[in-house]
């Protein structure tokens, strides 16, 4: 199907949709192409700034969406938070798993 000639009633030119394409979410195109002119973009295509950074980090699996699912069977259960005071000076060890933690000064570049 080629690009339709738009008569522009305010919605722009529209590509004729091939049978079977109707209802497909704009963001789930497997070829990664831009949506046909006149359709809405997905976040993947249009997000910017910090929102885009968060989206890309989530896609890479670096950051969770926030929900806590139980770990698959066989995996270690890490779902309980261990709180303890960390003081300046000597490194301390987590009272549960023994990992070493040391408090150091750090300023973010700005």
């Amino acid at each position: 199907a080629g690009t339709g000639t738009g008569t522009g009633t305010g919605t722009g030119t529209e590509r004729e949709r091939e049978p079977g394409e109707g209802g497909e979410a704009a963001g789930s195109r497997s070829d990664g192409a831009a949506p046909p002119a006149g359709d809405l973009a997905s976040d993947q295509e249009q997000a910017t700034g910090l929102e885009r950074k968060v989206l890309e980090a989530m896609n890479k699996g670096l950051v969770s969406g926030g929900c806590s699912l139980p770990p698959p069977p066989g995996e270690e259960d890490n779902s309980c938070v261990i709180w303890f005071w960390l003081h300046k000076g000597e490194a301390q060890r987590c009272p549960s798993c023994g990992a070493h933690y040391k408090l150091i000064p750090h300023e973010l570049p700005h």
Partner: protein, 261 residues
């Protein structure tokens, strides 16, 4: 790289909050001057400054979100909570007026003739224009849902059609209500019947106008490609508000229009 180690939005300094407060002060004192001293200067100034603050504040929010990307999922979650809390507060606002209606109508005083509607009051027929208005708002609830589905499917053309239809239905409701107000055989001064009727339906009408305006802004943003199929909270907030307005009407219709006749 990152200038902050969190996903919240620390907003830049803005003059709109304090200007908004000043506008609210002008408007409220303007109402007093209008009610008691027959002067509308202060009220006019107040309403104009309120409008200007709203336009510029919300314009800035669109800039911060759509164009600068500050509305991360975390920020959006906060906005959702905020809108839900606001709509809840509006529900309580209307609850008060329903309370007033039932207070007076469940035990009508001798001054009213011991009956409801009071002696001499000819209520509007709930099966005429009010029923049409009910159908209009219910239909608009369907069209706004159609618009939402179109947005999540990325179908801009259908979304624009559905949202436009929703707004037109809202205008139709407002026009019909205005005509009803003009033609009604009773006024706000006609005993507590007039008071409860016009204050409750009047505030509802104001909310229909607010909701229609909100939806209209969304229509402009939709046309200008602000929304994505995943992120369109401004539209969702407008749709929630619109459904709320519809629900309030349903309660008004069942209680004041129907039971109250």
């Amino acid at each position: 790289m990152a200038h902050q180690a969190h996903s919240y939005h620390m907003v830049d300094p803005s003059p709109w909050p304090i200007f908004g407060a000043a506008a609210a002060l002008l408007t409220t004192s303007g109402l007093i001057m209008w009610f008691h001293y027959n002067s509308s200067v202060l009220l006019t100034l107040g309403l104009i400054s309120m409008l200007l603050v709203m336009l510029q504040w919300w314009r800035d929010i669109v800039r911060e979100s759509t164009f600068q990307g500050h509305h991360t999922p975390t920020v959006q979650k906060g906005l959702r909570y905020g809108m839900i809390l606001f709509i809840t507060s509006e529900a309580f606002f209307f609850l008060g007026f329903f309370w007033a209606f039932f207070h007076s109508s469940l035990a009508p005083t001798p001054e009213l003739g011991g009956q409801w509607p009071p002696t001499g009051i000819k209520p509007l027929n709930p099966m005429e224009v009010p029923l049409l208005n009910t159908a209009i708002l219910l239909a608009s609830g369907i069209t706004v849902t159609w618009a939402h589905h179109s947005i999540t499917e990325g179908n801009r053309k259908h979304a624009i059609h559905a949202l436009t239809l929703t707004i037109l239905l809202g205008f139709y409701f407002t026009a019909l209500q205005a005509m009803e107000y003009h033609e009604a055989p009773f006024s706000i001064a006609d005993s507590v019947y007039g008071s409860t009727f016009f204050v409750a339906t009047g505030f509802h009408g104001l909310h229909v106008i607010i909701g229609s305006s909100f939806l209209t802004v969304c229509l402009f943003r939709l046309i200008k490609f602000h929304f994505t199929s995943d992120h369109h909270f401004g539209f969702e907030a407008a749709a929630w508000y619109w459904h709320f307005v519809d629900v309030i009407w349903l309660f008004l219709y069942m209680t004041i229009y129907w039971w109250g006749s």
